[in-house]
């Protein structure tokens, strides 16, 4: 077991430490989320009925875009200074180290979004119950975004125009998470059961947690060849 947990923990710790030393990156992505979500009412008008109706979609799309913003940084700095190559060559399982990096990315970029979501939901006049559902949907869905995104980040590593390309590759794959995440909140607003959406979101999370790190490692090995 320690063959898994020790390198995993070290990988997470290292990336958290690096993130703590570059706080601006973390804060920029979070504020991007806040600004995008706050711009939409300015675009569609202040009608509370309408805003309550589109709030789940806006919050989820804001979260998708904010995820994209930080994704490229998941592997690029380590690739640039050669750390990633050393990780691939190390006797520890590369997949475990990559899983650690993805987890760290989720902790750094995902958890603040989860915590910020209910606050933004208040601006859209969501009820307390809906805010809970919203937070829960992000809690289950945000790891999916990091996990699927890591595959795209690995595929576009060191590629010309990687950032724009990454969004083209990854956004279509985010659609199921968007539908079930925003759908759960919408169902709650409509007074329907959220169980179906949440179960499917959890299924997506489990599926991507199982395959994500593995496929990402494979893609990284190709990029490092």
């Amino acid at each position: 077991m320690s063959a898994f947990f020790v390198p995993f923990k070290q990988s997470v710790q290292r990336d958290l430490l690096l993130a703590a030393r570059h706080k601006t990156e973390l804060i920029t992505a979070l504020f991007f989320f806040v600004i995008v979500v706050n711009l939409l009412p300015l675009g569609v008008g202040p009608d509370p009925e309408l805003l309550r109706k589109i709030a789940p979609g806006i919050l989820w799309i804001g979260a998708l875009l904010a995820t994209l913003l930080g994704l490229q940084r998941m592997f690029a700095p380590d690739h640039a200074d050669g750390t990633l190559e050393q990780m691939a060559l190390s006797p520890q399982s590369f997949t475990v180290l990559v899983a650690g990096k993805i987890t760290a990315h989720w902790l750094v970029a995902g958890v603040p979004v989860v915590l910020m979501a209910p606050l933004l939901g208040l601006q859209f006049d969501l009820s307390a119950r809906s805010l809970w559902v919203l937070t829960l949907s992000f809690l289950l869905g945000r790891p999916v975004l990091s996990l699927i995104g890591s595959v795209g980040a690995a595929l576009t590593l060191g590629v010309r125009g990687g950032g724009v390309l990454l969004s083209l590759l990854i956004l279509p794959l985010y659609i199921p998470a968007l539908i079930f995440g925003a759908g759960a909140v919408e169902a709650d607003l409509a007074g329907l059961s959220i169980e179906g959406h949440m179960s499917l979101l959890a299924a997506l999370a489990v599926l991507s947690a199982f395959f994500g790190p593995w496929v990402t490692t494979f893609a990284l090995r190709i990029a490092l060849e």
Partner: protein, 247 residues
């Protein structure tokens, strides 16, 4: 051990596949022209006018076949991608990238003909029907695949990265399809059901099948033409290209 009738591995090398593709292209091109001529003749002159939809329905002969091909080509692309990753054969990756533009073209054609058909029938160019939406997403997946491959300079890396992307895509296509379908039924807005179409006349079915075969032959022709270009591009420095191919 009996020797196999045909040694399939023989043609897994670009040097042997190049002349084979060259020999096959005229046959498939001829089949395309013949089948398309018969298919279009049936769809324009033989098939009866639809009682409800009038003459406008005739676009469906192109539309259905194009939609089928766009989905089928994605699966074939994923198949060659799996071959590329598991056997590490160069030709498989080339085949996958040769198929992508044709698949994207069919996906676009199906969206275009669909909206042309939708305007007179439904009164709207676009509705958020599950099939339309997932076809659009399929088109995006094709674009992503081509964009990724063209952004990577090293052809081997481009092949493998594209292969991973198309395999991830092929797993996601059914998930996306069902999620979009569920999303659509949840929002019971302006839903127009395409599944409740009236039962088809026999000749219409024949027209559709022959058009599908024509598109099939067209796809093979185009893929072979394109793969020959890719082979020449990549093997330019090799001896056999200078000797045989560029005569």
């Amino acid at each position: 051990m009996n020797a196999p009738l045909i040694n399939w591995y023989k043609f897994s090398s670009p040097a042997t596949f190049y002349p084979l593709a060259g020999k096959l292209i005229p046959w498939f091109a001829a089949a395309t022209i013949l089948l398309a001529a018969v298919g279009l003749w049936i769809s324009f002159f033989v098939a009866p006018t639809d009682a409800q939809q009038g003459e406008g329905y005739r676009i469906i002969f192109v539309h259905v076949a194009a939609s089928w091909m766009s989905m089928f080509i994605y699966c074939v692309m994923a198949f060659w991608s799996a071959m590329c990753l598991s056997f590490n054969t160069r030709l498989s990756g080339m085949m996958a990238s040769a198929l992508a533009p044709t698949g994207a073209m069919f996906a676009f054609l199906s969206l275009l003909t669909g909206s042309l058909w939708g305007k007179p029938m439904w009164g709207a160019w676009w509705v958020w029907d599950a099939r339309l939406t997932s076809q659009l997403i399929l088109f995006f997946l094709y674009l992503g695949f081509m964009a990724l491959q063209s952004a990577i300079d090293d052809p081997r890396r481009a092949d493998k990265a594209g292969a991973i992307l198309s395999l991830v895509g092929v797993i996601n296509v059914p998930i996306i399809y069902f999620s979009v379908q569920w999303w659509n039924t949840l929002h019971q807005g302006a839903s127009v059901s395409m599944t409740k179409s009236p039962s088809m006349a026999q000749t219409m079915l024949w027209g559709m099948l022959i058009m599908a075969l024509a598109f099939w032959a067209y796809s093979i022709t185009m893929a072979l033409l394109r793969v020959r270009c890719i082979i020449l591009e990549r093997e330019m420095t090799n001896e056999w290209v200078k000797k045989n191919a560029l005569e």
